[in-house]
Symmetry: C2
């Protein structure tokens, strides 16, 4: 596998409190989603947010990673229901920070005890690329220009 790149674009107008943005993913699956600070930190009002998008990434990635561990052990899952819940909290140094992503998985898998399932679940978490991003980080680059 070569490097796979995926991108997304947000167009934002105005300041943080009264402004708003529109998000599009490069694949087309995420299309013209509205984002605001109020919907991010108060009631969502049907709008997504950076934290919901992190939860979406973590949930979908962990489902793949865990399915791979289980099928490697001869127990491909009938189903895995993976919920990720992401916390955004005030940062003692100012602003806000993401403090936690909690994964919950409920599986329908033949031939495993609860203990075996839980052990494979941990292996899946260790191999999950988004878990490892949250654990180990990645490089951030920035380029900026005026229109």
């Amino acid at each position: 596998m070569a490097v796979t790149q995926r991108s997304a674009k947000t167009v934002w107008n105005g300041d943080l409190a009264s402004g708003s943005g529109t998000l599009n993913g490069g694949s087309g699956a995420i299309s013209d989603l509205g984002v605001t600070w109020a919907a991010r930190t108060e009631e969502s009002g049907g709008k997504t947010s950076p934290e919901e998008l992190i939860a979406s990434a973590h949930s979908s990635c962990y489902a793949m990673a865990f399915s791979n561990v289980l099928s490697g052990a001869g127990h491909a899952p009938d189903s895995l229901e993976v919920t990720a819940t992401v916390d955004l909290e005030p940062n003692p140094d100012g602003g806000v920070m993401v403090t936690r992503s909690a994964l919950n998985v409920v599986g329908k898998v033949s031939g495993l005890s609860e203990d075996q399932f839980a052990e494979y679940a941990k292996q899946g978490e260790q191999g999950c690329p988004i878990s490892n991003l949250i654990r180990n980080g990645a490089k951030i680059e920035l380029s900026a220009s005026l229109k």
Copy 2:
């Protein structure tokens, strides 16, 4: 602000190579999006992926953080176009890993030189909660049970 929680759920059926998942976000804005390993690592075929979702989170969060820095300096932006591009690469230790998120911002802002804009762009990046998640990490929790 109290702790804000946002969640998402993926239901996955089957093994990694031939299985597939369906993703829903708690807000309702992300609804029944399909995910597969092939769409994640080869052509997207109109499907989102964990990496596109990370790019979406980073892009939308950075737009908010930068707008806040600019308006705090008296230069609320007419528009910020923020693209995030996330790289997924083979991991030398096996599997794959997220190695980079590259932000590009093009702004329409009155009264700033290119140098001033670039300096505020860096300040925005330092304050962006998703940048700080990628930089500093967060706690991961896991619970697993069989149906």
